[in-house]
Symmetry: C2
Subunit: 132 residues, 2 copies
DNA sequence: TGCGTTTTTGACAATCATTATCGTTGCCAC
DNA sequence: GTGGCAACGATAATGATTGTCAAAAACGCA
């Protein structure tokens, strides 16, 4: 029963992952990020990349997307809750906010007596510059 | 370059999977369904279960959900587009329709020039009968 | 109804992202 | 400076899903 002091230690590896995410555009897989770190000369283990990403995701500092392909994608995203509009051809992503959707989801869940509500929403389409 | 005649053949295995889905409530994984079929004495290969489920999903006859756990879940669902409100403890699921969400998603996508739009939305919560 | 063609099946192996393991390392508090 | 304890990381394990390919079954047509 740990009671406090989440004590997230400030390690070189955590900083490296966080910094990399800050510079990257778009979504990248854990394996991607790991490869990039090694290219930069940062010595970070793949396991640690996974752990760090999970931690950041839990803390709400990054966003996780689970595309049909089966690979988890991570991205430093703006604060607050939002969703993604993803081009299924080139992957270009637009962040979209939908306050109406948020409240709708909460309301629907409440109507059925569900508590502690969260939701996931992804929109897929073909962006203007991609051939259909 | 196949050109036509998808010619979906009517096989015993396909019927078995489809029938089973018709009787089941809630979501089940491919492996689950496979085990149930074997219990019934139906001799169906796991590979075939996967293929059949994929086919049914493509045809829009069943619904696929990809929970964080990582296992795909399949369910015979009502016609038309809808979403799911899932209890993250017991898995109890409620189908919910959200016309407002549909049109919102389409509108947002169109605003950004995205075509051929689809979306996925799942709501997670803790249902009234489950301890939090 | 019988036959040939084509799809489908299914056992098994391969794939591959993610997670567990566990000894070592290094951060942080005192 | 030093000790405790969380984080790290190389490797192995896991486990769902997909690929393979010969054999079997279904359908169309004569």
């Amino acid at each position: 029963m740990s009671e406090s002091s989440a004590a997230v230690r400030n390690t070189r590896q955590r900083s490296a992952v966080s910094a990399l995410l800050g510079e990257m555009e778009g979504f990248h897989s854990a394996q991607d990020l790991h490869a990039m770190l090694r290219q930069r000369g940062e010595r970070v283990g793949l396991t640690t990349v996974y752990r760090t990403l999970q931690g950041l995701a839990d803390a709400g500092e990054i966003d996780v997307m689970r595309p049909p392909g089966g690979e988890h994608l991570y991205r430093r995203c703006s604060e607050g809750h939002h969703h993604h509009l993803v081009c299924r051809v080139c992957g270009r992503t637009v962040e979209v906010a939908g306050p109406a959707v948020e409240s709708w989801a909460d309301r629907v869940a409440a109507q059925h007596g569900y508590a502690d509500v969260s939701h996931t929403l992804e929109i897929f389409g073909t962006c203007p510059t991609c051939p259909r």
